[in-house]
């Protein structure tokens, strides 16, 4: 058994580092680009939906139950089921993948945006209004900047989740790093499966570290 594991990792090492594995339309470089493209696009769409929603709920204080229930909805969402459902409804296209990834990302964005907005000190909002700011000025000059650290955390969490889940694009015969996982499973090529999984994990971790670094830099003047 230890020999097999050792062999597996040696093979994985050469799989990951071989030059031909990185080039060509089926190479890691291309698959990585596809994977990031799906993830970023899905997160952007989710942000376009989730941010205004979270800001609106946070600013008005109305519809808080939406924000709170979305969080549990997000956790309970069967992503693969959703892909299949939309796939059956729409036929072969990238639609099912994007619908599923966006549905996955929206709750994290809404919930964190809402949490960031409610965490703004009421005294500060009161002072902003009392100095003569109009509602939109309070929102964009005070609430939004103060909620920004948590909003960014929401975006980061959403992106990481989406990156990890974008493997399902391959499930409905599209590209991305998931290709290796599903092809490997079909071909009973364990090294390929593991290679795909490791790549997805590395991309997720690197993105997470880079973005939290960026957050720390941007908000270095804030107190904890």
């Amino acid at each position: 058994m230890p020999d097999t594991v050792y062999e597996l990792f040696t093979n994985l090492g050469s799989w990951l580092t071989s030059a031909e594995q990185w080039s060509g339309p089926d190479g890691i470089g291309h698959r990585l680009a596809e994977h990031l493209q799906y993830s970023l696009l899905a997160t952007l769409i989710a942000a376009a939906i989730g941010l205004p929603l979270g800001l609106l709920i946070g600013h008005t204080g109305r519809g808080a139950f939406v924000a709170i229930n979305l969080a549990s909805f997000g956790r309970a969402l069967p992503t693969v089921g959703l892909v299949v459902l939309v796939f059956l409804a729409s036929g072969l296209s990238m639609w099912p993948v994007y619908v599923a990834l966006v549905a996955l990302a929206v709750p994290a964005i809404v919930t964190n945006t809402y949490a960031g907005m409610t965490a703004v000190d009421p005294d500060v909002k009161d002072a902003a209004r009392g100095q003569g700011m109009r509602a939109h000025q309070v929102l964009f000059q005070v609430e939004l900047p103060l909620a920004l650290p948590l909003i960014m955390t929401g975006l980061r969490l959403a992106l990481i989740q989406v990156v990890a889940t974008a493997t399902i694009a391959a499930y409905v015969s599209f590209g991305g790093l998931g290709r290796y996982v599903f092809d490997g499973l079909a071909q009973r090529d364990l090294v390929q499966v593991l290679g795909g999984a490791v790549l997805v994990a590395v991309v997720a971790v690197v993105l997470d570290l880079a973005l939290s670094g960026l957050q720390r830099f941007l908000f270095r003047h804030r107190t904890a």
């Binding site: 000190d121 100095q131 003569g132 000025q137």
Partner: protein
């Protein structure tokens, strides 16, 4: 009804039959009619839930009255755009409410920028105000969390003053700082007010703060009832009812003395001893306790001539502390010193700290008594039959001890 302040004529803020009932049914302010003349500090005081903060917040429409009219500078506040009204009125709240993501300078620039002054002019004004409120110029680049509570509160005042509004609303601004800093901030506010002559509405639950800062004090009772509105001396000398008497506390008469300066109390020449006088030659004919002074004429302490050391100078002998008082100090401070002084005399100094004379304990007591009687008589003259009615604040507040 005439309202009068020297040099200033007209009313700045008027409440006319104002009611405020919140949606949950509680009445915060009940049939309030109140007038505040231009210039001077009006303190709204009362226990929590008495409607004093609601009253303050109705002035800049942070809360809207259920009925009645509020005018600022003669104009109905409800007829104006709320945001523009608020930009024309300074607003300071407890904990300062500074914007944590903006530097001190940017915080102070808030209203000028809202008014469209342009960044450069707003910044220049903000830098000027830092100095006005007694903060060093390098504080401007800091963020609020890098300042102490007292410094934050100064920034809050600077922010409120930025567009030079005629009216300043202050909602328990010094409630969250320690007593030492609070006293400093109160002194600063009085100094600023001397320079700027704003119409200030100040909310507090601390009656001592009210007496210290107020030109007029409005006392509220739970349920939003205005109980009495009068200058501090009148309030202390003639509380309208038992509620006010209780609220003013057991030291009411002493508080009254805190309003009277020492300058009219005569002083006798002091038989002082210079610090370099040898103790051997001191005669005891000038009383047991002698005031020893430094070369500059400042008081060093009381020397007991019954217990003189055998050699050395008076400056080397053991002395009992003497806290000398200036003309601007209050009768209350003088009374306090009569308790501490071993000699029965209070040392008096001029503005430079040079001893000018002494005043006997009996003299101070007599003046304290007279001051109390005078305040009572003045209050009786001005109060009239309905002292709770919209104010007759005709009495010029006594010159305030520093």
């Amino acid at each position: 009804m005439t309202l009068y302040r020297p040099g200033k004529g007209h009313l700045m803020i008027q409440f006319d039959a104002v009611h405020k009932r919140f949606p949950n049914g509680t009445t915060a302010v009940h049939d309030l009619s109140l007038e505040m003349p231009e210039g001077g500090v009006t303190v709204l005081v009362g226990s929590s839930g008495c409607g004093k903060t609601t009253t303050l917040r109705m002035v800049n429409r942070m809360v809207e009255p259920t009925s009645g009219t509020i005018r600022v500078g003669g104009k109905d506040v409800l007829a104006q755009d709320a945001a523009e009204l608020r930009r024309s009125i300074g607003y300071v709240i407890q904990q300062a409410g500074l914007f944590p993501h903006r530097t001190v300078l940017d915080n102070i620039s808030t209203v000028p920028l809202l008014l469209g002054w342009g960044r450069r002019r707003a910044r220049a004004r903000a830098a000027e105000l830092l100095e006005t409120v007694g903060l060093a110029a390098d504080m401007g680049k800091r963020y609020p969390h890098q300042l102490s509570g007292g410094q934050q509160q100064r920034v809050g005042v600077a922010r409120a003053l930025a567009a030079d509004p005629p009216v300043l609303l202050m909602d328990e601004p010094f409630g969250a700082v320690d007593p030492v800093v609070r006293t400093q901030l109160q002194d600063e506010l009085l100094r600023l007010q001397k320079e700027l002559s704003k119409t200030i509405v100040f909310v507090t639950h601390d009656i001592d703060e009210a007496v210290r800062l107020g030109d007029r004090i409005a006392i509220f009772r739970t349920g939003g009832h205005l109980v009495q509105y009068a200058p501090p001396a009148e309030l202390l000398a003639h509380p309208a009812d038992d509620f006010v008497t209780d609220f003013l506390g057991a030291e009411r008469e002493l508080k009254l003395l805190s309003l009277t300066p020492l300058k009219d109390v005569p002083q006798a020449p002091a038989a002082t001893l210079p610090a370099d006088e040898p103790v051997s030659g001191i005669s005891r004919s000038d009383g047991r306790w002698r005031l020893v002074t430094s070369a500059a004429g400042g008081p060093l302490g009381w020397l007991d001539t019954d217990a003189l050391p055998t050699s050395g100078t008076t400056g080397e002998a053991p002395l009992r502390p003497a806290r000398a008082l200036r003309d601007t100090d209050s009768l209350l401070s003088a009374l306090n010193e009569t308790i501490a002084s071993p000699s029965g005399f209070v040392a008096r100094v001029d503005a430079d700290g040079t001893v000018t004379g002494v005043t006997a304990r009996e003299e101070i007591h007599a003046h304290a008594n007279a001051a109390h009687a005078a305040a009572g008589a003045a209050a009786a003259r001005t109060a009239g039959p309905d002292s709770t009615a919209p104010v007759t604040a005709t009495a010029t507040p006594a010159e305030r001890p520093a």
